[in-house]
Symmetry: C2
Subunit: 495 residues, 2 copies
């Protein structure tokens, strides 16, 4: 084996160790949300702390840095090798700048803040929430300082979740989007159908439907699993093991169905990544915005169509014979399209959702700029929501305490949801151009061709391109609000 | 902080890291058996390999060895500190002798052998089983050679599971036990009650009963959980998170009930370890034999009594109203005491069970001595079973391929089951002397006092003593077959 061969071998072994440690760490998180008894919280936090420290230690291994540098110096590399080295260097360079002590401190502060949040939330105890959050914000500022870069502190965090994104582009985009959405809210609400009539949707039947729906959209249960948790999420432990959760509301079947479509969208992306990229930096999405484009494509651009509900009707009648005697699939579809300014982001409709994100972006940016103290955050949150949506939280739990993101240290993460909405709408338009009406495809049960479109345009590339290149290639256009706003107008405004 | 303080701090941090990595590794195993989709096998094996390598690397850290040595040199240590250092030194010294390459090789060979076993077993493909097992046996021999010691290779493996045990004591004990059990088999079988009449025991009701029974014996579900798997097992992820699995046979409720009592026995031991020992080497049982004494105490010395079944009757009637119209709790209790020489160890009755162990002990000892080749193992197994129990496997899957232990590398492990039987019987006698009839205690629902007895005599010590000291102190006698053989005579022989 020549010198270059040795470097590639070291690089491969290093990537495999990182993937294995990452998979183990992901399982600690999955189990915490799906199976862990209450008493396991403390030891779980300690286990997660140890694994993040070991991951960090492995990431900064000097010999890996040397190998990357020497390999990248070769001018004749193919595109895959070049992309692998680019992502590896990016991750490693960021990690090298963060001292292991800060990694541990942040991990512990996050665990404590999340515990404080989950205890404080049901009691509406904003003071305890603030107390837990303050060190997390301070440590995320230190973290961003350590990473440095040419922009503001917030840019360093944004770039973690959405490589290449900067305040300079995201802020004007979000402001423009807010300006175009706000005038739609009232007419969309006025044109809204009635909510779903009362009925009971047994939880066991909803769980059975969740598995069936997952398979209907192409999720492979031999290489994945579906479970339940308080907040739906998706995680991948390796090429052949991708899992997601859903949640079940006995009074309403839509929450589960939307959650399954959303999470299956993430999970289909993970299952569609090329197996040959397993255990390399290319076995992932190039950004969270790209990932979210897939979940929102399935949730809104498939699940929001009449055709989808026609297609789902037989399964609904089979699983809910009782409730479906009083409700039709069409009524559920209509109720699922109801628009109302509301307090809770995760329950918001497609029209108002991104205004919730605009608020969070503005607040987290102000915190990172030092313009907003954590103690002033709860009121700023309530004021901001009122300004954007005209509603005000009656209880603190429904305001700033509704999200776990900030206690989790996820600052700079929220805007990726909006980028996902915009990309999903652009992909929806491209899919329509390629396949004709998605609603018709769904109605005739031809979801396999929708999946094949996404596989071909998005999943099969892994991280070979950055998000902007990948999406330009997939949709033919640059990132912007037009497709999304037109989609809202077409779906929610009266004819 | 003085020099000694620094050593204790390093020692504590090292133990915590080992406990956290061990907990994460245990979760990878738990999830594999309870939740993982088929497609996850390959990445799971790789994750487990990485974690064992990191655990090994942490275990052999030179600074930890130095700290242990200097701390142990202090003549004024209290008993707890002395025991902590003794266990830590023991684990570390063993690990230091095993090269990391051998750890990895063994981990990979085990994964492959277990995969080969699980594919070969349903097909009865003994050749593939042998092919997978051969490298595991060879690597376990290299492993035992690396550990060295003053005895035979097998002693080094036996000592891993049962610290202090040696061929020189275990072999005569097992031979004597076999000689005393064999004459009991025929009369016990002749005196056996009828098997259970046919009925259906719905799986969901059995799972609900499993949780209820776990709580009835004192298992704390806030600090633990119950799941299902093909083979029942117990695992602990930390002080507040102990879980076990059961299995459910729709045609017979006894399999689940025995499994719950057995695994809850292990789990109660783990939940009863002192919290102040968490993340130290004392937070464990001193041996597998000691651990098994607890599972077998609950399974046989509580679960085998008439009083227990009287106590359980109302729950059985509530969960199985249909089946219990045709069967009484007394009939189930009697059927559960049925004795028959049979092929499958895990389904064997209490009288014949240890003859299965004697066979495995003799075979694995012969393999480690180089007197029996892996290719000759399947026939030697069938011949041995016929010699000891008078039955011969009609299909290879029912012979040597029934156990996963050897493909898993667990050579030297089987005898601990028998030690558990002997200790459990000795504890049963001591409990009777202290509390009166266990059957009466169970009948009156006074299982809390049985648990309190085990907590006081066994659980609360953790690893403060070695097994022989702990059990002598708990039972007043040395390890021997008398209590067990008398228990068999009393329960299974006519009047």
């Amino acid at each position: 084996m020549g010198r270059e061969g040795e470097h590639w071998a070291l690089f491969g072994e290093w990537n495999a160790t990182l993937a294995n440690l990452g998979g183990a760490a992901a399982l600690l998180g999955w189990d915490r949300e799906t199976a862990m008894p209450r008493g396991g919280a403390e030891s779980r936090a300690a286990q997660m702390g140890t694994l993040s420290a070991l991951l960090h230690r492995e990431l900064v291994r000097p010999d890996a840095g040397g190998a990357i540098e020497e390999l990248a110096a070769n001018a004749d590399l193919d595109a895959e090798s070049r992309a692998m080295l680019w992502w590896a260097k990016r991750e490693r360079d960021r990690a090298v700048r963060i001292p292991e002590g800060l990694v541990r401190e942040l991990s512990e502060a996050r665990s404590r803040a999340v515990s404080a949040w989950s205890e404080a939330r049901p009691k509406g105890d904003v003071a305890s929430y603030v107390l837990g959050l303050r060190p997390v914000v301070a440590l995320r500022r230190r973290y961003a300082e350590a990473i440095g870069g040419d922009g503001e502190l917030y840019d360093a965090l944004l770039d973690e979740y959405e490589p290449g994104a900067r305040i300079a582009t995201v802020e004007p985009l979000l402001n423009k989007l807010a300006d175009r959405i706000r005038p739609l809210v009232e007419p969309a609400a006025d044109a809204s159908p009635d909510p779903l009539p009362a009925a009971t949707w047994p939880p066991e039947a909803q769980v059975a439907l969740a598995r069936e729906l997952a398979e209907m959209v192409g999720f492979d249960l031999d290489r994945g699993a579906v479970a339940q948790s308080a907040h739906p999420f998706t995680t991948a432990f390796g090429d052949g093991d991708v899992r997601f959760t859903t949640r079940v509301d006995e009074a309403n079947p839509v929450s589960n169905i939307r959650a399954v479509l959303h999470e299956a969208g993430h999970a289909l992306y993970e299952q569609g990544l090329p197996s040959r990229y397993a255990q390399t930096p290319l076995h992932d999405a190039p950004s969270l915005g790209a990932h979210e484009s897939q979940s929102l494509f399935w949730e809104n651009h498939v699940g929001g169509t009449d055709g989808f509900w026609t297609f789902l009707a037989p399964a609904l009648e089979r699983h809910f014979p009782e409730a479906m005697r009083r409700v039709s699939a069409g009524t559920i579809a209509a109720a699922a399209r109801r628009v109302r300014p509301s307090l809770i982001r995760v329950e918001a409709d497609e029209v108002t959702y991104n205004l919730h994100i605009v608020l969070r972006f503005r607040l987290e940016l102000a915190m990172m700029r030092g313009e907003l103290g954590v103690e002033d955050l709860p009121e700023a949150f309530d004021d901001g929501l009122e300004g954007l949506l005209g509603v005000r939280a009656p209880r603190p739990a429904d305001g700033v305490m509704q999200d776990v993101h900030w206690p989790e240290g996820l600052i700079g993460y929220f805007p990726t949801y909006t980028l996902g909405h915009l990309y999903a709408a652009q992909l929806g338009r491209a899919a329509h151009a390629e396949l004709g009406s998605i609603s018709d495809a769904a109605r005739s049960g031809s979801l396999a061709e929708v999946l094949a479109f996404l596989r071909e345009r998005v999943h099969s590339f892994g991280r070979l391109q950055r998000t902007d290149e990948l999406m330009r290639q997939a949709t033919g256009v640059d990132l912007g609000p037009d497709a999304f706003v037109e989609h809202l107008r077409a779906r929610y405004l009266p004819g």
